[in-house]
């Protein structure tokens, strides 16, 4: 018999993949969290994802091994998945569903928030406008990151996405004098950024790499970690970014911190999504991924930004491994359609030993323009970026041409472009672990613009050419004042 007082049900009628079908579960509400007792008494968690007169469909967040049609009990909790939040989150390590992993007691909540989150009202959003210096020239000069932006790293198996992400975490800083107000005794003494790290399906080795990098960079006490590793339950992964972003929203919009969220690897998240869709026998979309994957990913990526009248911000750096290095694969494709640009790693540059192996042509930062220019970075920033792009794109064409007709078939001018593109990769893109200031990066850009005669700099205003061309000393500091 179902026990109506504790709201416990034994009417499981079927199990398929990670789904549990329960009859007569009429009291449940959509999205409600449930507890599932296996016949051997073990407790698991689940969530109601569909309701009808015949049955309720429950998505089981852990393994379904050991569950059966008989002997399994389902208990309603009367609440959707929520998260307990307080400033004590900082420095803590949790599982993919926010269970403490560090041996410390659970958070005593100041507030409790629904992890699904509501969409931000577009009119309440504040325009992102502060650039983040990452110390990486290809990003800072050509694809500037801005606070409140979502900028994924598109990587391929074996490419150093995690090294690039870790370098950004270590080096990221805002160059304007508006670090967040300290609230409730928390002083953001360690750089302006608070890190929220969500691991989904990555290996223990990769996770350890990040943890030791955070340690090395001294960011650990200003970080909150959520770890769902490769051998943790797959379906749990669907909630991991949502717990992480709920924490991020609290830190940013309640505590006023500048939060940098690393989500890795979104490809593993999408696999979990596909698994659920298959179990529900949904009509598959492209390459078997569900038709609503765009909306689902948007419900994660759109939780970045700033809000008028609030001090904090959420900047997202998701890592997306492109299956087969294919940028048109639905995972990177739909990501690119939602995020505000992308940083793309290249196997070719990686093979040449260039680090970071960022191929600037397919890269983009859509918010770049909001964060650069006079008073923010430097007056020549836009022009330097445009002109470097034009030269490099042309240089790459010439390289392709040279591969066919040989260097001898090139004109004098074209040979110069060829040399430009090679040197640009070796000295501008390739910077190893160097941390470059924005001025350094822009000056280096001018060095490369110097490969061509002045007249060819058609994307730079004559005044700027006059001021910067062919000089190699450091000129004005950023914002017109010493740093």
């Amino acid at each position: 018999m179902d026990d109506l007082i504790t709201r416990e049900y034994r009417s499981v009628s079927g199990i398929a993949g990670p789904l549990l079908f329960v009859e007569r579960l009429k009291q449940a509400s959509l999205g409600e969290r449930v507890e599932i007792m296996a016949p051997n008494g073990e407790a698991r968690r689940g969530q109601v994802i569909e309701l009808s007169e015949q049955h309720a469909v429950i998505q089981v967040l852990e393994e379904t091994t050991g569950l059966g049609v008989t002997g399994t009990r389902v208990r309603l909790t009367e609440s959707a998945a929520t998260m307990d939040l307080s400033p004590d989150l900082l420095g803590r390590r949790f599982s993919g569903v926010a269970v403490p992993l560090d041996g410390l007691p659970p958070i005593i909540p100041d507030v409790r928030m629904d992890i699904i989150g509501q969409p931000m009202n577009p009119v309440s959003r504040d325009k992102p406008s502060h650039f983040i210096q990452t110390g990486i020239s290809t990003i800072d000069a050509l694809n500037t990151l801005v606070r409140g932006q979502k900028l994924p790293i598109f990587s391929g198996a074996g490419l150093p996405a995690k090294e690039v992400a870790a370098q950004i975490v270590r080096q990221a800083k805002v160059r304007e004098g508006d670090s967040p107000p300290s609230s409730r005794g928390l002083s953001p003494s360690h750089g302006p950024f608070t890190i929220v790290f969500a691991a989904m399906g990555i290996t223990f080795r990769e996770a350890s790499f990040f943890l030791s990098e955070f340690d090395r960079g001294g960011v650990m006490e200003h970080a909150v970690l959520f770890l769902n590793l490769a051998d943790d339950p797959t379906i749990e992964r669907l909630l991991t970014p949502r717990y992480a972003l709920t924490a991020a929203e609290y830190l940013a919009f309640t505590l006023g911190r500048q939060v940098l969220v690393i989500l890795t690897d979104m490809a593993a998240y999408c696999e979990a999504l596909r698994q659920i869709a298959t179990a529900r026998e949904e009509i598959p979309g492209r390459r078997g991924y569900p038709g609503y994957m765009y909306s689902d990913l948007a419900s994660i990526y759109e939780r970045a930004g700033r809000i008028k009248g609030r001090a904090g911000s959420i900047t997202q750096l998701p890592i997306v491994t492109m299956p087969d290095d294919d940028m048109t694969h639905p995972i990177p494709d739909l990501t690119g359609y939602i995020t505000e640009g992308q940083i793309v790693l290249s196997r070719e540059l990686h093979r040449k030993g260039i680090f970071p192996p960022i191929d600037v042509l397919p890269c983009l930062s859509r918010l770049m323009n909001l964060g650069i220019g006079p008073g923010k970075t430097r007056e020549d920033h836009r022009s330097v970026a445009d002109q470097l792009y034009a030269f490099y794109a042309h240089g790459r064409d010439i390289r392709r041409l040279a591969a066919i007709v040989g260097e001898d078939g090139l004109s004098e001018a074209d040979r110069l472009f060829l040399k430009f593109s090679q040197d640009f990769e070796q000295d501008f893109v390739n910077q190893g672990s160097q941390n470059r200031e924005m001025e350094e990066t822009l000056d280096l850009g001018w060095k490369f613009l110097g490969y061509q005669p002045k007249e060819r700099l058609t994307r730079v205003k004559p005044e700027l050419i006059e001021k910067y061309y062919g000089q190699d000393v450091k000129r004005e500091p950023l914002n017109g004042k010493p740093d």
Binding site: L30, L401, L410
Partner: protein, 576 residues
């Protein structure tokens, strides 16, 4: 009348006991009264599409019929407003509910307390029909809101009086007892009727050289803008919303980014309308349903927007309707169709996708308005499309291409090399070119079509030569051909490329478009002539004429035109 919920699946709910309800009626779902619309009836069961997040909803909760279809509100106060997909005013929602969008809030689109000064333009006793203008309200300093008799109604005007009214107070009476108000309602999915459709003969001027010169669109036409992510669809939509010549702009952010809309919201109130000099926001209505807002409301947002567009068209205005992106709308349709367990067609889209797309695009047009013989209005649709993987063979691009009069195809390769607008000139087309030529000839220059043909031929020639160079190297081609390649590249880089972030060049008037191109094409002739006369190619490539042409677009229109004329004169003299 009300029924009870028997099934909940994402944004769709099935309720029983709904025998009396009508298709597309508005309903309130559950204890919190979520906004829904009836989209299928089967015996006593109604399937409802819910416009808000259904989390927390339970079986057996009540569904109440509002006994009327889902409506769009029409009247003064629309301009400058920002709505979600079901026309809830987002500013008011933020004031009431805070920074995150709450649920179960039913807010009227237009203010019930704001007063408007109404001035009648007809006398009592006049015979009126649907579409007759009975008076005006100055909605913004530049836009006169014409109050029309709603379609389908006619009779004799009774009392009608100037004064200050809220949108619900009667401004007059029809046939003695029927009140006329500033507020009208129109079912969200039904096109508004017109007297007659007119042929496309006036261009929709965009201020973008590649569009106006190579692929011009008619006012009242439809153009689709497909392209992979980051190729510049949104920038095209926003640039046109800023600089295109139109009286009213309706911008629908359909399933796209929040931060993008923030840019519009902060920029538009500061930017000036190029023709009237008033803040852009005063000619604009925004409908915003971002990708993370409820998917059913995304499906409706396009209809909400186009209905408002038709309403202003009916007043005799040229309306530009910008949809970013139609693909997200089609995907919302697909998602709902899947929940209804309808038979899927290609790529999971419902089999009626093409019909539905056609139904939307067909709402564009240049028309003679209802009610008066000489009032003309138009709705021009600019529809961004986001093909998966940038592959145009997918159903939404294909379905749209069959109906649209123009295609501005965006290209990832051009975007990667920062050639913007990243228009692939081989793939793009306009079916309006011929019918618009007379206008350009009369208004700009008689040889406007000639320049377009020359430009297209040059681009074609360049491509053929490129193929040869790829095989044999540049050293192996003749100087005549080398110079053609160089100047063709100059035209691509300096004419077809147009940077929206440039102060001067973001929008380019037609006369400047004409003179710039003319000077550049004449430069090619000049160089070819000089080569024949024995001048070395290096000297021509290093000439100051070339550098001048390369920087021309950054010169303000008047100066640029003068400069072009002087250059053309000079080149002709030298050649003689």
């Amino acid at each position: 009348m009300s029924g009870t919920i028997v099934k909940i699946s994402g944004p769709t709910v099935v309720a029983r006991g709904m025998e009396q309800v009508r298709m597309f009626n508005r309903v309130a779902v559950g204890r919190t009264g979520l906004l829904g619309e009836v989209i299928r009836l089967r015996g006593p069961e109604a399937t409802i599409q819910v416009y808000e997040d259904t989390t927390g909803l339970r079986l057996d909760e009540e569904v109440t019929d509002a006994a009327e279809p889902l409506h769009v509100e029409l009247g003064p106060g629309l301009l400058g407003a920002i709505f979600d997909g079901v026309q809830r005013p987002l500013n008011l929602l933020a004031t009431q509910r805070g920074d995150w969008i709450g649920r179960g809030v039913l807010l009227p689109a237009l203010s019930r307390v704001r007063r408007w000064t109404f001035t009648p333009t007809v006398r009592p006793g006049t015979a009126v029909v649907g579409g007759t203008c009975v008076g005006v309200v100055q909605e913004t300093p530049k836009v006169e809101h014409r109050i029309l008799i709603p379609p389908g109604i006619s009779g004799t005007l009774g009392k009608i009086q100037a004064g200050s009214y809220t949108i619900e107070e009667p401004i007059g009476w029809l046939n003695g007892d029927r009140p006329l108000t500033l507020l009208q309602r129109w079912p969200v999915r039904r096109p508004r009727p017109v007297a007659e459709r007119l042929p496309p003969i006036v261009p929709f001027i965009t201020g973008q050289r590649v569009f106006d010169m190579l692929f011009p669109i008619a006012s009242g036409g439809t153009v689709i803008v497909p392209g992979g992510f980051g190729t510049g669809k949104t920038v095209v939509e926003q640039t046109l919303a800023k600089y295109a010549r139109a009286d009213i702009i309706i911008y629908v952010g359909c399933g796209e980014r929040g931060n993008e809309m923030t840019e519009v919201l902060t920029d538009f109130p500061q930017l000036k309308d190029p023709t009237t000099g008033m803040p852009l926001m005063e000619r604009t209505i925004l409908v915003i349903n971002t990708s993370n807002m409820p998917v059913a409301a995304r499906e409706t947002s396009i209809y909400t927007g186009i209905t408002m567009a038709e309403y202003y068209r009916d007043m005799g205005y040229a309306v530009a309707f910008m949809a970013d992106s139609t693909s997200r709308w089609a995907e919302a349709t697909r998602e709902i169709s899947a929940r209804l367990e309808e038979m899927p067609g290609e790529e999971g889209y419902p089999t009626y996708l093409a019909t539905k797309l056609a139904g939307f695009y067909e709402r564009s047009g240049r028309v003679r308005c209802l009610g008066e013989t000489d009032r003309e209005g138009s709705v021009t649709i600019v529809s961004a499309i986001s093909p998966p993987g940038g592959d145009f063979s997918e159903p939404v691009t294909q379905g749209s291409m069959q109906i649209a009069g123009g295609l501005w195809a965006l290209d990832s390769d051009l975007a990667h090399r920062r050639h913007f607008p990243a228009i692939n000139w081989k793939r793009s087309f306009s079916l309006y070119t011929q019918s618009l030529d007379p206008w350009f000839q009369a208004q700009v220059a008689p040889d406007w079509p000639q320049l377009r043909i020359e430009l297209a031929a040059l681009l074609q020639k360049e491509e053929e030569l490129q193929e040869i160079v790829q095989l044999v190297g540049i050293d192996a081609v003749q100087d005549q051909e080398r110079i053609l390649l160089e100047i063709s590249r100059l035209i691509r880089e300096e004419y077809l490329r147009q940077n929206v972030y440039s102060d001067v060049d973001a929008a380019c008037p037609l006369a400047k478009q004409y003179w710039m191109l003319k000077a550049q094409l004449r430069f090619l002739e000049y160089c070819q002539g000089m080569l024949k006369n024995g001048h070395p190619i290096e000297q021509l490539l290093a000439s100051s004429l070339r550098s001048e042409l390369e920087r021309m677009k950054e010169t303000p229109p008047d100066g640029c035109i003068q400069q072009a004329q002087v250059m053309i004169e000079k080149m002709q003299q030298e050649l003689r």
